[in-house]
Amino acid sequence: MNETPDPFEMRLKSVAPAPPSDKLRNDIEKELQPTPRFNAKTGVFAAIVSVAALIAVSTMVDFGGNPIPGNNPIPGNTPNPGENPNPADSPETGNISVPANDTPVLNPEGRPYVVPVKGLKPLVDALDVSRKNPTRFDKLEQLQEILSDEPGQDKSLDQIDFETQEVLIFTWLGWKLDKLTYQLDTTQRPEIIFTHRPMDQVRRIGDGPGEPHLHFEVFAIEKGTLWSVEIEEKQTIIQ
């Protein structure tokens, strides 16, 4: 998956942290220096070898506090410099129409237009977190790319038939009681209307300020079905 660093994050990163002091470097060096031990057999201090090696190594590095440029040294631990681009196609938004009742409706082939998929856990840094635009996946491989490595997700993937369905993943940062619901409008061409109901921060008496939650909801929808997203006004509940 290609990653495009977020310009804002790159600007932050371009300001470097202050380097460690020379004192710290020297203290660590002292601690890591091997303790000399007398080798009775050869009659030499084994430490001489270690010190010689340390001197040899130290000539290869910069003691001036300047960092040695280079890539992350850990194979398989490629840094993640910022927001990932959306790996799937751009979302399509249909016309918003009047929500119909929420009775499940089947298409002429007997399949539901929309089914919530449970048990999938995406890697959140791979998705757009705006409320309005879910990320759309029409291929199994695309979806697999953004799933976390938690066990049991293959079973959830079996719920989806990519021949006839595509997947929408909504991810957003909000408070605990935020809701995302959906209805099917069949007055004209069937259209799924997703509705976000964002809540203001919910506080119970005696509670501290709480922490926003990262929500994600996954839906398998019949290919070619219109869909749209509505966002209700933010509601406040004080309990």
Binding site: F8, E9, M10, R11, L12, K13, S14, V15, A16, P17, A18, P19, P20, S21, K23, L24, R25, D27, I28, E29, E31, L32, V57, S58, M60, V61, D62, F63, N66, P67, I68, P69, G70, N71, N72, P73, I74, N77, P79, N80, P81, L123, V124, D125, V129, S148, L173, E211, P212, H213, L214
Partner: protein, 168 residues
């Protein structure tokens, strides 16, 4: 990088480690003490670590937590627990060509100071430590999605604060 050469590791990651430690430490000297203890622990046991870089930051986190718990003076910590200089712009692999558009260190410091400690830690680990959310989760012993949500929330705040600063 030579895995046997601690100085290369220290040069590559030292500045970000100090910055990370400073999110909890009282002052720069304390942060350096933490990094010293953590780095030595890391170096002695690195070969048994599954992911050495994550282990390195975990050592800093662990030493920092031990200190925090055992030292009541931490209750009176300095409000500005971190500091950034602009003169080492290539640390962390950032291109020096970004320096034209870079923020002033003081701007970032002020904006970061408005964030809660747990969000600052995630931002430092992600931006300057270059860890993934999965690795950050391991370092801070929190779920990856919590790390991600803290990060996104913090970035939103920083964006807003720093753009306000640019406009005024």
């Amino acid at each position: 990088m030579d895995d046997r050469n601690w100085q290369q590791w220290f040069d590559r990651h030292g500045a970000a480690l100090i910055l990370f430690a400073r999110q909890r430490a009282d002052c720069c000297a304390d942060a350096e003490d933490i990094v010293q203890t953590a780095f030595i622990r890391f170096w002695k046991h690195r070969e048994s670590a599954k992911d050495p870089l994550t282990y390195l930051y975990s050592c800093v986190s662990s030493v920092s937590n031990d200190r925090y718990r055992s030292d009541s003076r931490r209750r009176e910590r300095e409000k500005k627990a971190w500091y950034i200089k602009a003169d080492d712009a290539n640390v962390g692999g950032a291109s020096s060509s970004n320096s034209d558009t870079a923020f002033e260190p003081t701007e970032i410091e002020e904006a970061m100071a408005t964030l809660p400690e747990e969000q600052r830690q995630v931002v430092v680990l992600k931006i300057w430590g270059e860890l993934t959310f999965k690795n950050i989760a391991e370092v801070l012993s929190i779920p990856a999605n919590t790390a991600a949500s803290r990060y996104r929330l913090a970035i939103n705040v920083l964006k807003s604060r720093l753009s306000e600063g640019a406009e005024s």
